[in-house]
């Protein structure tokens, strides 16, 4: 995967990459702002929200962590659910590995930190257009589509959130459940995902009523996939790979 491409082809592909980045960056910034607001409403300090965005840099799990913390879930539960939610990156990393195998270990280690759904999708498309890897293109895709807008917008959201005295008056307390529901829809690509979501929601509510939201959320997250695996998958769905369409890192 190191076949050459002309400087003109590289320039053309990078121009296209920038075009693709623009729309995603706007979306990432929007959700970074919402994440910052939501985290602030849940009692996160600006420092806590920013460290999470910089170090974890995984939108859905960060939104989820806000819910876990607000629901009183113990830290080990938060960490386990975060690991499960973010395990999909294994697939992206494995797909990129053959393209980047001639880069140094240190460079690959650094590149891994900014690997998101969007970085994967943009850079793979760029590499395929070129017929080879373009490390600079990867960094452009990963940082400008999500890392920079997500973190700047988180900062703006968490600072702005501190200025709003009663967020529920403006409906801002509804952002979190609405965002979770919308993100969930983005991941439902077939019958199994639908069953996982339905059972996850039902089990989450039932167990929460009996044992508290912290336990309920974990139960929903673990039981939903089990129920879904017991559901036959139509052959036509087998080739569909769920990709986050939301612009979240």
């Amino acid at each position: 995967m190191t076949a050459g491409s002309s400087p003109q082809e590289l320039a053309a592909s990078r121009r296209r990459l920038w075009t693709e980045i623009a729309g995603i960056a706007v979306s990432s910034a929007s959700f970074g702002l919402v994440y910052g607001l939501t985290a602030r409403n849940a009692g996160f300090s600006p420092l806590e929200a920013m460290v999470m965005s910089l170090l974890v840099f995984a939108g859905a799990s960060q939104f989820a962590a806000v819910g876990y913390v607000a629901g009183g879930l113990a830290w080990p539960g938060v960490v386990v659910l975060t690991a499960l939610l973010n395990a999909r990156h294994l697939l992206y990393s494995a797909a990129l590995a053959p393209w980047l195998r001639d880069r140094s270990l240190l460079r690959r280690a650094a590149m891994a930190h900014v690997l998101t759904d969007e970085a994967f999708a943009l850079s793979m498309a760029h590499f395929r257009r070129l017929g080879r890897a373009d490390e600079r293109g990867y960094w452009i895709a990963a940082t400008w589509s999500t890392f920079i807008p997500w973190n700047l917008a988180t900062l703006a959201g968490v600072v702005l959130g501190g200025q709003i005295a009663d967020p529920s008056r403006y409906g801002l307390d509804a952002v979190f459940p609405a965002a979770m529901a919308g993100l969930c829809v983005g991941l439902v690509t077939g019958r199994r995902e639908l069953v996982a979501a339905a059972v996850g929601a039902s089990a989450g509510v039932i167990v929460s009523l009996a044992a508290g939201p912290g336990v309920g959320i974990v139960a929903g997250g673990l039981l939903g996939p089990l129920a879904a695996l017991a559901t036959p998958r139509p052959l036509v769905e087998a080739a569909v790979k769920p990709i986050d369409e939301t612009g979240l890192p």
Binding site: E48, L55, L90, S93, P177, L183, C184, V185, V205
Partner: protein
């Protein structure tokens, strides 16, 4: 400024980074059984749905928890509907928040 959750963020990062890095740093090591990969793919919708449902349907009371029906459900329904229709999260969030704010302004929630 509170920093209690900084350690939580570090722990979350510590379990997130390996899934991003291991295949890049040690190709081949990530090969999990297909059943395990299927399970992991399904965790996302299950956890997110649980979070959404619990957030709007369960409230804390003096006696523990109780089932809640409220105007916040509208925001969730709007988000699901618009995400299904447009495949874009933002319009659903905006409509949901505006619906809830207007309903509360009218004294409905």
């Amino acid at each position: 400024m509170s920093s209690d959750l900084v350690l939580l963020a570090v722990l979350m990062a510590a379990v997130t980074y390996p899934s991003r890095a291991i295949p890049l740093l040690a190709p081949g090591i990530e090969r999990l059984p297909e059943r395990a990969l299927d399970y992991l793919r399904l965790v996302g919708p299950a956890v997110l749905a649980a979070l959404a449902a619990v957030s709007v349907m369960v409230v804390a009371t003096d006696d523990g928890q109780s089932f809640h029906v409220g105007i916040e459900w509208l925001a969730v329904v709007a988000s699901i509907a618009l995400m299904t229709w447009r495949r874009n999260l933002l319009p659903g969030l905006v409509v949901g928040v505006v619906l809830v704010a207007v309903a509360r302004g009218l004294g409905l929630g």
